[in-house]
């Protein structure tokens, strides 16, 4: 009998099936790896296990008895602890305070600091992080050390099942090695571990069993080591195609300098040595698993990150872009469609008209006064061009549907006729119809001479929309795929960094168009 099992579990979000009829069985004293590409249902699965969301259908059993968790606290009480990617630590409190935050040891009603410190030291030692001082403030620790504290915090709750959701992605090499030892020891102590990682070599090193998810289904469970990497990739792909993409015109080679050229762009430890060339009329995709530095690359190009090194050239001339205001200047003409339209893209309570005009106000005004007539004409043109479905341009942007909000975000930047368009996963959470319109629009803009750099978590889009795709892994471009080479299989295997050719060779090719 399994320690914990899920049978036939399904979950829908609106019209999207995130998980359908998924099965998984977890054994004590084993490390169970969960694999799958973006949106395969991994996150939904563990959120259900951890009590963050409730399943629509299916049953869960713990020690053979059916269970249901109403909250993360309930899952905790049942012995399931989860280490999420988003850190749940409180920056201004000490490490010891954080480790015992949900239930501090008390004496006479007050927190017993000595007992708390002992517990913290014990938990840190179990997590292999005894060199973190329990009195250190979390905000003074590096990301890697914080992640170690996060692991210690989970262990302090004495769980029977420990879920690690890409818990190693922020760790330094030294901490990763320690964590391997710790996880193996925990396994020997009889804990069940669920391990989600996109690093195949970690899975090879640690896992006893693997379950592969695809399209919200658990497609295969096998003992670790019984399948080759290629067979695993084969299991992970196979998404149904349901979108129609505009044709990609053949682009005549030209002698013009690239619209945007990036050489050896580096930022802290999140971006390393990024080089790319974007020509007028080209749509370049950014691929890879979520969180490999794609977002940072777009922000760096837009001038939001400080302390970047490397060179950026526009039309062959080196430029230093100091921020969004500089990026939208006529001679650069760069626009970024951000990831989160609600916080970074729109002022929700303000009208559609105001939202559309913001980025182009300086072009629509004379002597600092907005020219109302010019504004109205420009706004009307964009609303028609994008077919924004709205009850007039005076309704607040927040009243529009997700797809139409996204159109407003894009329309805002089209008002200033950008030459370089950076998009950060623009189709996430919008309906199929709007997606189609978006694909047509991107291609139309490119045909009119814009250069487009397009990050997407949806591999379909990368295959269907892009002339070239740059695949990122750990803050670097590891592979470039061109034309017919852009296939889902190639995208998945390079996203997992399983490419056979050395990465350096492909980037060198990329520099010679």
């Amino acid at each position: 009998m399994s320690l914990f099992a899920m049978e036939g579990v399904s979950k829908r979000f609106g019209g999207v099936r995130a998980l359908s009829n998924a099965d998984i069985a977890i054994e004590a004293g084993r490390i169970h790896a969960v694999l799958g590409e973006n949106g395969a249902g991994k996150s939904t699965l563990i959120k259900i296990m951890a009590g963050v969301i409730a399943p629509d259908e299916g049953r869960m059993t713990l020690d053979g008895a059916p269970v249901a968790f109403a909250s993360p606290a309930a899952a905790n009480a049942a012995g399931i602890a989860c280490i999420f990617q988003e850190l749940s630590l409180i920056p201004d409190l000490s490490v010891a305070d954080n480790i015992s935050i949900s239930n501090p040891p008390r004496r006479f009603g007050l927190i017993d600091r000595r007992a708390q410190r002992r517990a913290a030291e014990e938990a840190l030692a179990r997590a292999g992080a005894e060199n973190i001082h329990p009195l250190a403030l979390v905000k003074d620790l590096s990301l890697s050390r914080r992640q170690m504290v996060e692991i210690a915090k989970a262990l302090a709750r004495a769980p029977r099942i420990l879920i690690l959701d890409e818990a190693t992605s922020a760790l330094t090499a030294a901490d990763v090695t320690k964590i391997y030892g710790v996880l193996k020891r925990l396994r020997a102590e009889g804990l069940a571990l669920i391990y989600i990682s996109h690093r195949m070599h970690e899975i090879t090193e640690l896992a006893d069993e693997c379950t592969v998810f695809c399209n919200g289904r658990s497609v295969a469970t096998y003992a670790a080591g019984t399948k080759t990497d290629n067979e695993v990739v084969e299991l992970m792909i196979g998404r149904e195609y349901n979108a129609v993409f505009p044709p990609r015109p053949a682009r005549a080679p030209s002698d013009a300098p690239p619209l945007l050229e990036v050489r050896k762009l580096t930022w802290t430890n999140r971006l390393s040595d990024i080089s790319l060339r974007l020509h007028a009329g080209e749509v370049i995709g950014l691929g890879g698993l979520d969180g490999q530095g794609q977002r940072e690359l777009l922000l760096a190009l837009f001038g939001v990150l400080q302390g970047t090194t490397g060179e950026v050239a526009i039309d062959g001339k080196a430029v230093a872009i100091s921020g969004p205001y500089a990026a939208k200047r006529r001679e650069i003409g760069m626009a970024l469609i951000p990831e989160d339209r609600k916080t970074e893209g729109l002022m929700l309570p303000m009208s559609v008209r105001d939202n559309l005009s913001f980025a182009a106000l300086s072009r629509l005004s004379r002597f600092g006064v907005v020219d109302r007539t010019a504004e109205r004409a420009a706004v009307d043109r964009v609303v028609r061009l994008l077919a924004v479905r709205t009850d007039g341009v005076d309704v607040p942007a927040g009243a529009l549907s997700g797809g139409n909000q996204q159109k407003v975000v894009i329309g805002k930047w089209l008002m200033m006729a950008p030459r370089i368009l950076l998009l950060n996963d623009p189709t996430r959470g919008i309906d199929v119809g709007t997606k189609q319109e978006m694909y047509q629009l991107l291609r139309a803009l490119a045909n009119d001479g814009a250069g487009i750099l397009f990050y997407s978590t949806d591999y379909d889009e990368l295959v269907g929309c892009c002339d070239r795709v740059l695949v990122m892994y750990d803050g670097a471009i590891v592979r470039e795929l061109v034309g017919a080479d852009i296939t889902e299989r190639a995208l998945v295997s390079s996203a997992l960094n399983l490419g056979t050719e050395p990465a350096a060779a492909t980037t060198a090719q990329a520099a010679q168009p």
């Binding site: 993360p72 409180i90 305070d97 935050i101 007050l110 001082h133 922000l299």
Partner: protein, 327 residues
Amino acid sequence: MSGDWSYWLREHRGTLLAFAAFVAMFAVYAANHPAGLNANVATTAANKGVLLAIVAMAQTVVVLTSGIDLSVGMVMVLANCLASTIVVGSPAATALGVVGVLATGCLCGAVNGVIVIYGRLQPIVTTIATGSVFYGAALALRRVPGGDIDSTLADALTGQLPGGIPASLVLLAALVVTVWMPFRRSALGRAAYAVGSSEVAAYMSGVPIRRAKFAAYMLSGLLASMAGLFLTCVTYSGEASAANGGSYTLYSIAAVVLGGISLFGGSGSAIGAIFGALMFRTIGDLLFVFNVEPLWQPLFQGVVLVAAVCLGSLRLLRIRNRLDLYG
């Protein structure tokens, strides 16, 4: 473990800086006072300082949760008017009056808390509105200044102990030991810091967010009413003074900033705010001993405040992702 002290220093840096700055300022003041530092000079200075210090403590507990309480001054004024009415008569009646004043303070804080937590209104708007209501109640109690307070109690709190120690300082120390320290060391106090530092992380960690906020607002009301009681002991009367209420509210925020408490919440200590308050008072006294016209006082207090805020924002220079500036 060795090296504990360095972490202790790190955690209490703001408080220690406020303490050091106050000691330096006060030393200059005492050395230059025409009459020297005698017991009477110290007692007068202490009474003024302690009043603001208690209001600053009230402000601190709310600021720690990344809220703000703009009604502290008005709660103080209301408590002042109430105390000048009910803290009189026989010892038993006086004691009952004190309890009544403090209970009223708790009630005011609880009202703020309920509106902020369950009404989900911004603390700044809520407390401006409730502050106005509290002031209205104070005005209803005392249309014209007047009233009285039990003189034994008043003299005991504002006079000197044997040896010339100002009694008000002992009162302040007692408040720290009996109110602030237990709060800081309780699970609820920890939760208040957690909420102020990162509400999302606190929620994900199963911290009782609502209870922590409620406790903070209620404690703020309680401390503000103690300040009102103390004010009555100093003045022997009650006065529904809008100017007093408004300026004490603003000064309390100044004291909190000078005391090294982050207005974003989550870090700092009421002890820092106490020294911030004493420092703020000493600025005025310093100008007096150096024969500067009192008219300059607000200007100098403002300059010191701006300098303190600048010190507090030095960390922003280290930000690598500009989006973090606006997050």
